[in-house]
Symmetry: C2
Subunit: 332 residues, 2 copies
Amino acid sequence: MDATIKDIARIVKVSYATVSRALNNKHGVKPETRKRILEEAHRLNYRPNAIARGLVKKQTHSIGLVIPDITNPFYPEVARGVEDAAQEAGFSVFLCNTNWERDRELRYIELLTSKRVDGLIIAPVSETTETLQRFLRSVPVVYVSTTAVSAHESYVTIDNVKGGYLATELLIRTGKTPVAFIGSEEDSHTLQERLEGYKQALKDYHQPVDERYVRFGDFKRETGSRFIKKMVLEGVKPKGVFGENDLLAIGIIQGAKEIGLAIPDDLAVVGFDDIPFASFPEISLTTIAQPKYEMGRYAVEILLKRIGMEDTGSFPRQRLILEPNLVRRKSA
Amino acid sequence: MDATIKDIARIVKVSYATVSRALNNKHGVKPETRKRILEEAHRLNYRPNAIARGLVKKQTHSIGLVIPDITNPFYPEVARGVEDAAQEAGFSVFLCNTNWERDRELRYIELLTSKRVDGLIIAPVSETTETLQRFLRSVPVVYVSTTAVSAHESYVTIDNVKGGYLATELLIRTGKTPVAFIGSEEDSHTLQERLEGYKQALKDYHQPVDERYVRFGDFKRETGSRFIKKMVLEGVKPKGVFGENDLLAIGIIQGAKEIGLAIPDDLAVVGFDDIPFASFPEISLTTIAQPKYEMGRYAVEILLKRIGMEDTGSFPRQRLILEPNLVRRKSA
DNA sequence: CTGAAAGCGCTTACAG
DNA sequence: CTGAAAGCGCTTACAG
């Protein structure tokens, strides 16, 4: 159906090696010949078959982006960052949503390696990357927004401990004690880091660490709302809350308002991520910003460097830990 | 590096045709032989090379999704819909952000056809699909959220006229007249349809159509805010506004509040799209909901049907126009 | 049930 | 400057 190199060769009456050379701007083709070939290619609406080329060059110029859910407001910017950077380098990106399912993550990785992507960027579902190793032997990968990876892998992430510290410190210094922590799943590595920052700040400022002020659920907005109400109902009454992420934090604000608490006077709230609508005047959430778009870009930069190397295995891991940034708005 | 069919053939001492058959569950391989092949494949950590297979079968099981910007809250759900549906059918999806640039859109389409995607789902930058035609001859495409395509193409979209009508009608019936219209770019086909619905409703309810109440800018939140303030400053004082999309509508609300208008009493606002945070209590935007996720799913369903056909050209176009749904919240 | 051969659309030494 | 040939990793008639 589509025109091939052979069609052009036949018409122009040269070998298809010559056509290939002309099309790829290789030196050593008579200008006259090259011109005729290019014209014919254009006339036939010729599109090089990247699949065929990929087979011989063993490079597909495609990478895979494996994330939990593009619908979660944290990821679109990351995705945009990787797509932009990839595109600039001539790479395409496969988008895969694992829906936080380990199985689906595994299947995607298998599928992508079958499609011979040149590399993978993964925001893993959970922290056990062990099962993945088998599939990942042959392809370079850089992880994003997690540090819980095996010793020889690359990643780009943020300093979660410091972020947690900054959030908590703000609350303490503005007199919003006791300060509570509401987080997602307890065994999440990310959560543990942010929690560590929280505890560290409490210690540094001589505040007691009271487990009643620390709750784990999931990362949904409703959960934040439910938890703060429950807390207050139980007589545990924080003056400040650090929500492990913005969705949770927004939920906390909403729940607090429902039971008549004024933000930030009765309850100050700080989140984490700085998702797009955190900055809306109606929300105006004080939060720890992550450079999401840049994380995406950096991830592909690191990945691309590895793709260039023939011996992927020996390439030194590269780990980028970005700085969190406290964005002060009205909720704290 | 990676094990191939030949490696297996050599070790098991059969031809590689047999290995291929065994691996693909073709009938006519002695169970004993098949077993040995499968075992060896597993031992070698064999991953079939989808690129090579794609070359011979002329099917890559990949599709391209070309949208303006995944960071725009309308698209993540659409993308998730197409990704879910594609994945269920064994297809992978390339994500491409055109950033509303016609050039970039064109380049992506060229790139994707080079990669021999089996099909394309496009939310086009603008309505002139003419330039695209050249690249799109050989690959099936279904458009999403636009009706402005050439006569023989497929699309899935929403009834924008009806949506505009519903929005305006609500405003009129709740006494919020005069009702203004604030939209993005005037030459956008989508805008024109929604505007048509607006005008139709005004006519049906015997309201004057006054051009001073109709403004065009872009689709940004800030624009909505600026426009409503400007309108009021000019002495044009609507009681209700239909914002062509939610971002605009939210901006309108914010701008209105800034100049002391109470929502919805002084000014009632209805948007279009029902993006995720329209439902947040702080926003509580009345809006015309689009079934975004389903639009994505339907688009791949239609696409997949076409991909199955050998003669793509003769396959009848399929056009799906979904129903808009008025979601009543607090802003109107 | 299995093998030899051709071919998918390209690239790349190797000759000339 | 150009061509003949081999090969990338597979699948698929065609024989046997």
